[in-house]
């Protein structure tokens, strides 16, 4: 198959022997070019680990990850990453942050002034695309969380990566800002033709953004199921209330609950309620 990313029998164990944690076990997945895949699952099921392995920040214990058929070995400029927070450089302005990758020597020995020119044009384009024009000379700590994530995304996109890896990038934002960011990132995905791998713990976000939602399960971290999303390509916030959407959301939530092994102990809650009532009666 002609996949952009091929994850083959990927395994990752932290530590060894008895105390070793199997963060990933036999993960197999193909991701097509320009696909938007989202990963959900209970916390600790290995979502971040898998994303970091694709990014080359972590190496697999077994199996392999291939980009265009070539096994990866460490980070590369073809794969950009957006973290949840604290990844911007507070001593650089918004524009300087976005252009940061231009400071790096890697892969630009034969750089020409035309390239630099083009990079500046690209930075301007991204600043406009991300709605950052009015804050281009501000420092990150002068910006709201949502604006900071816009900068982080623009910075990641500057070198035209083929793949964008995002680890709960909107996890710290309020609900309204998130909705704006969702439509923005969908727009970016279409415009830039990047393949996006997006990790989240928010099922609604996963369905709204993803063409496929990959549900992962913990202990050992593995893929539980893959759910193709049946929504029109042009997303719209109202779809979140459509019966199809809600049905899929319920199905995925149920799956996560079942695999997480955490269940509400209704019996205990009932007992506690009864005790509290008794105490009230005695007074």
């Amino acid at each position: 198959m002609n996949n952009k990313i091929n994850i083959k029998a990927a395994g990752k164990t932290f530590g060894d022997g008895e105390g070793g944690i199997v963060a990933l076990q036999d993960v197999n997945l193909g991701i097509a070019s320009n696909e938007f895949v989202t990963f959900v699952g209970a916390s600790g099921c290995g979502k971040s680990t898998l994303l970091r392995c694709i990014g080359g920040l972590e190496s697999l214990s077994s199996g392999s990850i291939e980009i265009d058929g070539a096994a990866i070995d460490g980070p590369g400029v073809d794969r950009a990453m957006v973290f949840q927070h604290y990844s911007l450089y507070p001593w650089l302005t918004v524009t300087e942050n976005i252009k940061f990758s231009r400071l790096l020597r890697a892969g630009r020995e034969d750089i020409t002034s035309a390239d630099v020119e083009a990079a500046s044009g690209r930075a301007d384009a991204l600043i406009n695309l991300m709605g950052l024009n009015h804050v281009r000379d501000a420092y990150p700590n002068q910006l709201s969380g949502g604006m900071q994530q816009r900068v982080a995304i623009a910075r990641a996109l500057l070198p035209r990566p083929q793949i964008l890896l995002m680890d709960e990038p909107f996890g710290a934002l309020d609900a309204q800002t998130r909705e704006v960011m969702h439509d923005l990132i969908l727009h970016v995905s279409k415009l830039e033709k990047t393949t996006i791998v997006f990790v989240t713990h928010d099922v609604e976000e996963a369905i709204y953004l993803g063409q496929r939602v990959v549900v992962m399960a913990p202990r050992p971290g593995r893929i539980d199921s893959i759910c193709p999303v049946d929504l029109p390509e042009k997303r719209d916030q109202d779809m979140k209330l459509s019966p199809g959407f809600l049905q899929q959301k319920k199905a995925i939530l149920t799956r996560i609950r079942e695999t997480a092994g955490m269940r509400t102990d209704y019996e205990l809650l009932e007992r506690m309620t009864r005790q509290a009532e008794q105490q009230n009666d005695m007074q």
Partner: protein
């Protein structure tokens, strides 16, 4: 609302936990904090409670500072002491910053040097003085060596800690953008740790002054610390007071200089 009630509410609002003071109120409290001890000192000295020989008043100390300046070459004492501090401190910083950077960045360096540094740090610097005097004699270099011993090992560990505090996501973001090792150090770790490093320098500068006095008390024939010691021999308590206060004032001035440098170099930390 009665005016008494209002005053009471205003008084109460000062004591909100982690509360806020207007600039004016803040300055008032700061001034009171400075003036009250000064007033108490003056009160004790004029009350005749304590013999003037042991407890000179603020006026005596000022007068002594003036004669020290006019007849006893105060400026050269200040100059030589400051020179020793700056020399010992600079030597310390020049070696401690790269070493701390290495310890905080590369695990093998940390494993090799950190336990050793930790151990030496607990050896009392003052106890090295006899050894230093045997090895380097009692010229300028011995004073500088003592200040160096007193500050260097602490500084290395603090620099290493500053470097380790650089958020890992800042480093990983650079890695995913294709930065190599030296680029990560020079473009991320160093600029990210710089503000903390300057604070570390500011704090260790204070310790350098402490070790200066120690060095001058035992192995010098000039400088503020030495003058304090000699004043004791001649029962010039007012000069002891003057020396101590002068060292405090110089220390305060240098501290303020570091804070100014911090604001000047890292404007992004002060914008909100």
């Amino acid at each position: 609302m009665s005016s008494r009630h209002k005053i009471f509410a205003g008084w109460n609002s000062l004591w909100v936990i982690r509360g806020h003071l207007s600039r004016q109120t803040y300055l008032m409290f700061a001034l009171a904090g400075m003036l009250l001890p000064l007033g108490a000192w003056w009160g004790v000295s004029v009350s005749g409670w304590m013999d003037k020989v042991f407890m000179p008043g603020p006026v005596d100390v000022l007068a002594r500072t003036y004669t020290w300046f006019m007849d006893d070459d105060l400026m050269s004492d200040i100059w030589i002491s400051t020179y020793r501090v700056v020399a010992g401190f600079t030597l310390s910083a020049v070696l401690a910053i790269p070493l701390g950077l290495m310890i905080g960045t590369y695990r093998p360096v940390q494993a090799m040097l950190e336990p050793l540094t930790d151990f030496i740090r607990y050896m009392p610097a003052v106890a090295f003085i006899p050894l230093v005097m045997l090895w380097v004699g009692i010229d300028e270099s011995s004073k500088i060596a003592i200040i160096f011993i007193g500050t260097f090992f602490q500084m290395v560990l603090m620099v290493a800690e500053d470097v380790r505090r650089v958020p890992i996501t800042q480093i990983e973001a650079a890695q995913t953008m294709g930065a190599n090792r030296s680029e990560i150090v020079s473009l991320v770790i160093v600029p990210s740790a710089k503000p903390a490093l300057l604070d570390t320098l500011r704090v260790t500068m204070g310790w350098a002054w402490t070790y200066l006095v120690v060095a001058e008390l035992v192995a010098a024939n000039s400088g503020l610390g030495y003058s304090i010691l000699r004043a004791q021999r001649f029962m010039q308590t007012d000069k002891i007071f003057a020396g101590i206060i002068l060292i405090g004032l110089i220390g305060l001035a240098i501290d303020q200089l570091f804070r100014w440098l911090h604001r000047k170099n890292f404007p992004w930390m002060y914008k909100k």
